[in-house]
Amino acid sequence: MAGRFFPWGLLSVLCLTFMLVFLVYPLGTVMLSSLRGPEGDLSLQGFVIFLTEGRYLEALLNSVLLGAVVTITATLVGAPLAFLTARYEIPLKSIVVLLPLTVLIVPEVIAAQAWLMVFGNNGVVTRFLLDLGLPAPRFYGWFGLILVMTLIYYVHIYLATLAALRGFDHQLEEAGQSLGTSPFMTRLKVLFPAIAPPILSGGLVVFTLVVGNFAVSITLGHGLPLLSVMTYRSFISEMGGNPVMQSTLATVSISLVALVLFLQKRVVERRNYQMTQGRPGNTRLIRGASAAVLATGVAFVTAMSLLPLLLVLIGSITKSRGPVMHWGEYSMRSLNRVWDFGGDVIINSLTFATQATFFGVLFGALASFLLIKKRSRVTGLLDYLLLLPLTISGTILGIALVQGFNTGLVVLTGTPAIMILAYMVRRLPFSVKNASNNLYGIPDSLEEASISLGVPPVKTALRVILPLMAPGLAAAAILMWVTTIAELSASVVVYSAGQETLPIQIFRLIDSDLMGQASAYGLTVISIILLPIFLAVRFLNLRLFTS
């Protein structure tokens, strides 16, 4: 009966407690540490150093600038691509549909590494140009960061724009034209204002992702000070000591993202319009020269997105000696080394990902059920807290967990539990979202029908609702497992000796400039990721990429 605490209220409180203990408390610890002096006294020393030592401020400005530039370039690539695929029938359209996949199957660290094999110090193009006596472009720093991040993040804009266009009622455009504006002006005056807010929201997501990005920033940033990289380096250098700078930098990042979110709430969300009906128009076929130009553009973007896959495949079977890649000569040595020495790392990755996925999906199933079907004041707060991990970069979440569970009642730092927790908390928003997918369509009357037929509430949830949630849960499990296998930024902060995962191994190999081996491990990660996706799409008919 409504109004009774047991069992839904109790379960909601338990979920909320989990979030408070493993997210809010650690983040609070970090923010408090930023206000501590060397003796644990209240002090603004961290912020004084941040403001007076130039490189910290420079890092903040660089990160904001990089975020802004990549947001613009990603929008310039993603939005037109979405418009083309939504509205026109162009050659090669069928491959564009696969693009969202690339984000999943090519982890950021592998994308960065693949591009280094092209433009890095020992890259193919760099070598080729140097051999010809020509100056090679400087890939490390701005150029490389902007190129690689644009290619990684434009997919977010592409998906946001596509969703907005699909939800846009085509009749509004027809109405505009019937009232006398030209097709172009109608788009400008009717379509654009309606789809701009969701695209802008996508842009803000990209901005926060760029500012929080670790893998690409640290591999391609080199001498360029960036906030996320500096936070990580402070963490490494302050290990065991006073965590002032890491906390200060983390607090600055959190405040920056909070500001962006505030802007989104105040400016963007207010301009979101409700479409009464979404009737997307028919796609138009274009032929001739314009089709060729557009198809070339689409093909170029697609090829650039998929290139890392090919590069890693080639890199892994290319003969290499130390940092030198012998392009054109092939050898199985790198792959054999993975086979001989990579066992522990692969097993670590698989066990951590499997456990994190198990608990993450369990929590996701319960939380999404409570959020959608058993709304209360507690679930309102839970809903809000579940968004929080989206805005916290992996590095900062890792630092927060290490600091929060370093000492005191529960010591988790150094145990596998902290790895699993980090993965779980990081992916909870996605887990809950995917688990909810099927829930919205289930009317409350279904549960009531079961209860009226004599099945008690909890049993009803398990017998009636859970089977209907199954496809969403399967998708949640696969996506969580796959993204956890690829996770680097939190792993690299929380892991201890013996807990190395595949992305950590790749990161170390890139750091040592051992591209052949890094490629071999990269290929391993991609294979591990592709397998469940292939199985899910082939045998479960899961639609993983509809959002």
Partner: protein
């Protein structure tokens, strides 16, 4: 099978009172309908009976047992939902068997009872289908079978016909009434469709703003409404302002209606300050008036002028403007426009010997 009694029942959400001291009695085996517009509290009352909503005050009895605190799954109620609420991942057979499985009925018995009930609603041939492959009417039949197979104490139906098209609705009405009669099960039916309520029920409670405004047999509700609200909600009614001249309730009451003296019945207990005359469109006769005579000679007569004529097939409707700019609608058997009284013609409306006065707000 059991009677239902609801005593001083109230429900409020914060400051909003959704149900205000409801008292109803549903006899054993009766078909009882809660009729009212959306937001009148009828669905909330049904959900209190089912146990989905905990009342703020008052009590619900099934027979002699106070079930107010009893959770739904222990109440043994059969419920039919507006959207049918069929389990989409279960076949028709499994949907109907669901409640029996919860009661741990033996396999042989279960199969026999499910088949028996599927036959009762004529869908035995659909047993292995999934709900998605059924038409609206078929889904409705599954929902009925599923609710009845558990042999519930009471059957509760929440606007079960509102998702069906007009023809099917009338067909399903007969199915529901027939099943209810055969099972002789106490039934509470919620609807906003007055025709449905009149056609199906033994008793109708017309609800408004969380209260039961009038309770009676369908005939009583239609022929003897107590308030202008009921008169207008149940069937079509023209309501005209009336001023009391003489007479007591229960007998003949004389009122002034738009300057004419009208004699009629009034069943309202206390004669309120303001009364209204109910003129049903189909009970009012229309005659062309003699140009010279204002009054057509009948006892209860109102003069007017035709302003519009609409042909509706089985009937035609005149709109007539009366004194003070009041409009009323009068229906007559359908006829060719050329045979109808032309617009602008002065007419006389005969209200019959016994029009009714109701209380108005």
């Amino acid at each position: 099978m059991t009677s239902i009694r609801v005593d001083a029942l109230s429900k409020s959400y914060g400051a909003i009172d959704v149900l205000k001291s409801i008292a109803i009695d549903v006899g054993d085996g009766a078909f009882f309908t809660l009729l009212g517009p959306s937001g009148c509290g009828k669905t909330t009352l049904l959900r209190v009976l089912a146990g989905f909503v905990e009342p703020s005050g008052g009590a619900v009895y099934f027979g002699a047992e106070d079930v107010t605190q009893k959770p739904t799954h222990k109440r043994n109620v059969g419920m039919v939902f507006q959207d049918y609420a069929l389990f989409p991942d279960k076949t028709v057979f499994e949907n109907v068997a669901y409640g029996l499985r919860a009661r741990r009925v033996s396999a042989a018995d279960l199969s026999a009872r499910v088949t028996e009930h599927l036959e009762k609603v004529n869908i035995a041939h659909l047993a292995e289908r999934y709900p998605a492959a059924l038409s609206g009417g078929q889904r409705q039949r599954v929902a009925l079978a599923r609710a009845l197979v558990i042999e519930p104490q009471v059957l509760l139906m929440d606007e079960p016909l509102s998702n069906l098209d007009a023809k099917l609705r009338i067909q399903m009405r007969e199915v529901i009434r027939d099943l209810q009669q055969r099972a002789n099960i106490t039934t509470v039916f919620v609807t906003h469709d007055q025709e449905e309520a009149l056609a199906l029920s033994d008793w109708v409670a017309v609800m408004r703003g969380g209260r039961v405004e009038q309770l009676g047999s369908p005939y009583e509700i239609y022929s003897n409404p107590k308030t202008d609200y009921i008169a207008e909600f149940v069937g079509a009614a023209n309501l005209l302002p009336a001023k009391h001249i003489e007479g007591q309730p229960g007998g003949v009451v004389v009122c002034d209606v738009l300057g004419q003296t009208i004699r009629g019945q009034c069943s309202v207990e206390l004669l309120p300050q303001s009364l209204k005359l109910v003129a049903r469109p189909e009970e009012t006769a229309i005659h062309e008036a003699n140009q010279n005579i204002e009054h057509c000679g009948s006892v209860n007569c109102l003069p007017g002028q035709v302003t519009a004529y609409q042909y509706l097939g089985h009937k035609s409707a005149y709109t007539v403007v009366l004194a003070d700019g009041c409009h009323i609608t009068v229906t007559v058997p359908g006829m060719e426009r050329g045979d109808a009284i032309p617009e602008g013609t002065k007419v006389c409306l005969d209200l019959g010997p016994n029009p009714r006065f109701v209380s108005a707000e």
